[in-house]
Symmetry: D2
Subunit: 361 residues, 4 copies
């Protein structure tokens, strides 16, 4: 891992020479530069040993270490210069394609799910969301319908010809979610559940990773790297609000993360305005802002009767509001040179879904 070690101010030449020797003995190639106030040692080598940074930082005479290469490889723009465009059952995700993922927060009943799916498909959503395993702050809250919910989601996806996405929260559930859903969602609270990332990384289905409440963009990319390192190259990133002192909304949507992540990575970047805001009236302005800033899509909660929702009702849009938002989204996408996916159009829905050799092949 390439780095710059800034030395302490009081070192004489012998001390610097000794330090160079110690760095070499760690297997790194050091190179000394001197400025007016400081001596710095630039190092090369040590590929694949992230521990070396800490080890250099602790050497006698080193003040601090500045990294000069990113710790991720497969997720980086250096690895793939052009945008990754995924094909998810014929839907193209990434690059100029803007996709809207919509559906209820939790799958509560077959009727409700089908009603919402029909409405969001009609308004222009291209992927159907619905939660079967719900991570809830309180052990006394509704925890989701589990496998029964997954089956309903699969049926709705087939009925409306939409790929489906659902959250997986436990390594033990990866197999059942793989069986019924088209995409894995790894939620913000599990962004650094590394065993879970490794497990979904062994499959061939797309993994949609939400940024943790306090995760840096680098950490989000490192979580993507966990999945990518297992051979699953179908990863989507999602900004969903970070925790700050601002308490007007549930989380502060970090809209600048969209262009920042796009600069550093080739992976598609989505935004979740529903969880960021926690209030349905703010979902449309934040969704429009996300697409104006260049996002590859948004994931939005829609509920036909939100005041009876078993989960996160206050942030769910009514279908009519969702339709209005979609109309504005389409226009804004075009202003920034993007295009919201439409069903049935030539060139938008042509290839069959990738049918890999199955799971853990």
């Amino acid at each position: 891992m390439d780095m710059v070690a800034v030395l302490k101010t009081n070192l004489d030449d012998n001390a610097v020479t000794a330090l160079v020797g110690r760095i070499e003995s760690l297997g790194l190639a050091p190179h000394v530069s001197r400025t007016e106030y400081r001596t710095v040692i630039t190092t090369s080598g040590g590929e694949g040993n992230p521990e070396l940074r800490d080890q250099v930082a602790q050497l006698e005479g080193v003040d601090r270490v500045l990294p000069i290469a990113q710790p991720y490889r497969l997720a980086s723009r250096e690895f793939a210069e052009s945008d990754t465009i995924l094909d998810i059952k014929g839907i193209r995700v990434g690059g100029p394609h803007v996709n809207v993922i919509a559906g209820p927060c939790a799958i509560e009943s077959r009727e409700l799910l089908f009603e919402v799916a029909a409405a969001v498909k009609q308004a222009g959503a291209s992927i159907l969301r619905g939660g079967a395993f719900k991570p809830r702050t309180s052990p006394y809250s509704f925890q989701g319908k589990g496998r029964d919910g997954l089956i309903m989601l699969q049926e709705a996806g087939q009925a409306f010809n939409m790929p489906t996405i659902t959250e997986v929260t436990d390594t033990r559930d990866v197999e059942v979610v793989y069986k019924y859903a088209d995409m894995f969602q790894v939620g913000a609270r599990n962004m650094q559940n590394y065993n879970l990332l490794l497990e979904v990384g062994k499959t061939d289905k797309p993994v949609f990773i939400k940024r943790g409440l306090a995760a840096s963009t680098t950490e989000l990319l490192m979580s993507a790297e966990y999945v990518l390192s297992q051979g699953n190259h179908r990863v989507i990133l999602c900004e969903r609000g970070i925790r700050t002192f601002a308490d007007d909304v549930r989380f502060t949507l970090d809209v600048s993360a969209v262009p920042v992540l796009q600069e550093r990575s080739h992976l598609p970047v989505f935004v979740d305005p529903s969880h960021a805001a926690g209030r349905r009236d703010l979902v449309p302005p934040l969704a429009l802002a996300a697409v104006a800033a260049g996002a590859a899509g948004v994931i939005v909660e829609v509920h036909s009767c939100p005041d009876k929702a078993l989960c996160d009702g206050p942030q769910a849009l009514l279908p009519t509001k969702f339709e209005g938002m979609m109309n504005q989204l389409r226009q804004i996408a075009e202003v920034v040179g993007h295009r919201v996916t439409r069903w049935g159009e030539e060139g938008e829905h042509v290839r069959p879904a990738a049918t890999g050799g199955g799971w853990r092949s």
Copy 2:
């Protein structure tokens, strides 16, 4: 100030009665409610004495106090239900009008200022910015040209027929800034410099207040209240990024503050993408996001030779990039039912500037 006092769990009836008596003796009207686990006392009265909240919070037996009314009046939506639309030398600011304030960070020379002013006017900016008093983190940095800079700014404003805005950082400078500029800017670092707010509140020129790096939207509205309370009703709010753990950009643009402030206040809400990002490549996506979210305008730094700028060069747009951004801004404003101000059009530039009775009349 209306509030709800939540009592401690272990109080008997006598203790509650005693507490009611103490609250009455503070001049408040108490009203007791009991829930399964808690007793609460709702209070009325005490208008104009914000200290009462702390005094109730300290009474024996009170666990905590929840405010149920906002601490600001004149800045609130309750005070003025419809959007305030300011007339600044014929330019309408607020409501559906989207205005772009542009110019160099600091006024460095007459030539540069005129060059940038010509370019931003041509591209569609309606108000000219330029700093003469610069608050800088380092005492060794360029601190601005002071009065000479103000004179140049006035000349440029007259030459290009644009109202001007500049920052004021000291109560002793309010008079000279009033003389030469059309609008006061109170910067993020002075948002709670209350003496400065009181002083500009005694004038009749618009005050553009930037949110502090760690200020809540309520505190921003309280700073507006300081100006409004002195009789100056021409206040504009500006979100410019908050300080969070996210370190990819200088400050995290809190785009959700735009709809939140608009819900709570009748005052126009602008966004400063330049200071939020600190990097010019992020300015256009953040500006577009701001207008998509409903902002009444943006304030943007433009420099014709940013790598020689004496201040904040890395965030200044080149004139050509600014023009491209303006074209997209106009379209996005229309998608959300707004309209970027254009010069010379009927209905956009009709009224003469308000000519008040002067300063501290």
Copy 3:
């Protein structure tokens, strides 16, 4: 869940009456209070249905809902007024007992572990830590020795007569960790891995839960509630630094969380200065500050050769520094009326370890 609904300002009497009816139809008992500017409705009932808060918040005419009871029960001071004192293999944890948990970050070899264990026992640590499953930001970092590490830890615990603690990161590993270690550690990144909390909640071994980087104290107590709700009442809380804009150290130690958690909960509250600081020179001052603020203990990383550590070397104390810190800790504990556990003293090590009916009894 008891709450106060603050109504919108423009409601007439009929609207309030209608709202009261809707609240009653949700199964809650409403009680109306009027202040000068606002009407509020206090509600009782709805025990065990946390969704009701969101449902009330969405009712037509409700501006916002303020909770007046905490969402946790078993973790609260109301549930158990006096401090919980755990007996962990004869060591008392909580109340006036201050315990120091020490050991290497990761278990790297039997030799190193025994060397460090001997040193920390000698200096006064009462519980031995060591990581076998390491959650690492990078997939390319050392991930721990797994089951082999657990066996070494068990042997060291037996050799030095110290209870042991190790991190568990996957529901699939709960059984093996249960077999070899005396306490489960749930790390900051898994604080809201609810399936993991449920699984350790089904055992009878103590669970040490670290606060997430962006978790509120309420959320930490809700995570404790997950464990407690499964019947495992042996929970310890740990503050380990939160993520803020301050970047001098890895995380900002929130020392005020110690008295805040102790006021709200009966559970012991520890502090982890090593992970907060990320630098060994700051570990002693932060550890002393924690005990001065009343913490029930600290968890500290010690390494006899930290510049060769495979994990988090820069924050590991040398055994000699650890000993110096212990001497100061003992004195500070006494100033605040507490006492650092010493081995072999009467009254400190009397009861045999609780021997429950085994796992998932």
Copy 4:
């Protein structure tokens, strides 16, 4: 300003040579190093021109710039290796001396001030605080007694033989505060009111600077640099809580800032537990934590009748509680090798106050 410029990955040798030329033309001495993945250019020179960093950052081919020297000089440990110990009217502040500044938040009446001064002197405070100019969030709150309050403070200081400290919030008030008080306090909201810093920097009285709610420690040291650069070398730093997502207390006390500031600067570092906590019950544990972490003192609000205080009553300690805290503070100071100043002891109160040549000499 010494720095390391990390270049973009795709540069060929000609591009690097061109870049070296451009850096030289800025007056800097460049030195090229190459690692496996990156080329970096270390630069020297450019002393006294902080703009150069931005200018290098913008050069074609530069990815980012890493500073390798701190931007402050006079405030740094490099400038003065040993702790600065101030003599304030015979009281020694800094180094091993721990001083407690105490008094009411605001000066409300002569009687109250004298009552509190007598109590805190008796309990062991060495410096008397009291606010005459109060910066308040609300324009409708009590704003302080101004000059009348300063006169009362001076009288109390003389009566009890204690140096006095009071806040100054406006450049126009520096003269009157200088006349009546012994130390200037610059509050958190004015930490970056640079004109105010320059003005107090022209005097010869000590300046106590509180860290802003969102200020980094580097920014706090830069504010100290503003004062020092004007020739006033008597500066004290104060950590008083930062704004984070944690909302249990008003501000999160960043206790690690104490050792961090002490490592980087020779100036004394105090802590204000009262404003951090906002609740009196948390003041003693936070004060003890601060002294355990090595602080040179604390500043605490004390009020003999806090429930009638006109300002910040909930955080004021009663005199009896203050006395108990002082007893613990003395013991904790000794554990860490410090000593709380006591009046009348040999060696603690020997030198007369520095009597400079007056103001703006």
